[in-house]
Symmetry: C2
Subunit: 211 residues, 2 copies
């Protein structure tokens, strides 16, 4: 397998962390998103949507989407289970992972892409052509992130991890979102969110967090 | 089981259609989103994020997210498989379903919510409080939908369904998006997209499409 990856972007980190939790490794090629390497003919020939991460299997199958790659890895390396166990738990983990994406990651992306000077004409990711950034969307993204942090803090007062008592893909998505929000989107966890800070310290200490 | 549902919204339709394909039925309660019934204390006590669909299991477990509900149904009613078969196919279906969401459904939502007069202060769905609509986002959503239709048309020149030779959740997401885009977001499939029109007629003729 070969992973097209970017050390700077949050979605490839989700896959690297998932792979590390599973003890899986593979060939890695860094692609410079800010420099536009993901929009070159060479990369688009591999992954037409122009997004990272992209995993190419040994038989040439291309998986161009973060959670789809995680699904493949869960199916081929079931232990430890990161997408849930029984039917209800699998559904709960899926719901929580998607809450993290829709309430957190999309907001962080809006906050970053629509404020970063280098992306003034790259308001959407990938091979969509020129799309103007929308400054109001950066402000909306930051407000959404603050709501998300507050909701997470309430949830994490009652459970160790995002989807209950076990570490799961929902924690990976949330950690990658928090670190991206704090860095690129300049919207760190507020001091009053003590439960988020406790959880963040705990999941950040896992070896996979440095993958 | 009980499904909190809205006949007018595209995400609940995804679950109704998935259930119909599986031959599953349950108690149904309609919630008036435009009238704000999803934001009342009564509904928020069931589903704090204030979004539809929400499925409540017989033991009281609440699943408040469309794809998580589909995951539960797939696990408990495996036939016909709508989330893929072997590891690679499951990953491919997941990727295609997510392409439909990120490139299609989110764009249709942006196009609708930011142009609909009743949602001027409901720029985001659910219990997030007052969020101003962003008119530029409605325009961006329509442009994204046109790009999505063009991409779908290229894909459907080469395959019968969205994720290959078998009907899957990706077709359900795509159908619900196309019909919502054409209706609420006033952005129908362009005439030149003959492959999309062929596919749309075919999936619309399934009994589940009327669920």
């Amino acid at each position: 397998m070969k992973l097209y990856d970017s050390k700077l972007a949050p979605n490839p980190r989700r896959v690297r962390m998932f792979m590390a939790e599973k003890g899986v490794s593979c060939e890695n090629e860094q692609v410079d998103i800010v420099g536009g390497e993901n929009l070159t003919d060479e990369f688009l020939a591999v992954s037409p949507r122009g997004l990272l991460p992209t995993l190419v299997l040994d038989d040439g199958t291309v998986l161009d989407e973060s959670v789809a790659i995680c699904r493949y890895l869960e199916e081929t390396h079931p232990e430890p289970a990161l997408l849930g166990t029984d039917p209800v738990n699998k559904a709960h983990v899926e719901a929580r992972q998607r809450h993290m994406e829709f309430d957190g990651m999309l907001a962080a992306m809006d906050a970053f892409r629509n404020a970063f000077p280098g992306f003034r004409e790259r308001g959407l990711g990938g091979s969509v052509g020129k799309v103007d950034a929308i400054p109001a969307l950066a402000d909306r993204g930051k407000a959404s992130l603050l709501r998300w942090y507050a909701a997470l803090d309430r949830d994490l007062a009652e459970s160790q991890y995002i989807a209950g008592d076990s570490f799961s893909i929902a924690d990976i998505t949330a950690l990658c979102t928090v670190d991206f929000a704090a860095g690129a989107a300049r919207c760190p966890v507020p001091d009053e969110c003590a439960n988020v800070k406790r959880w963040h310290a705990e999941v950040s200490s896992r070896p996979s967090a440095g993958a």
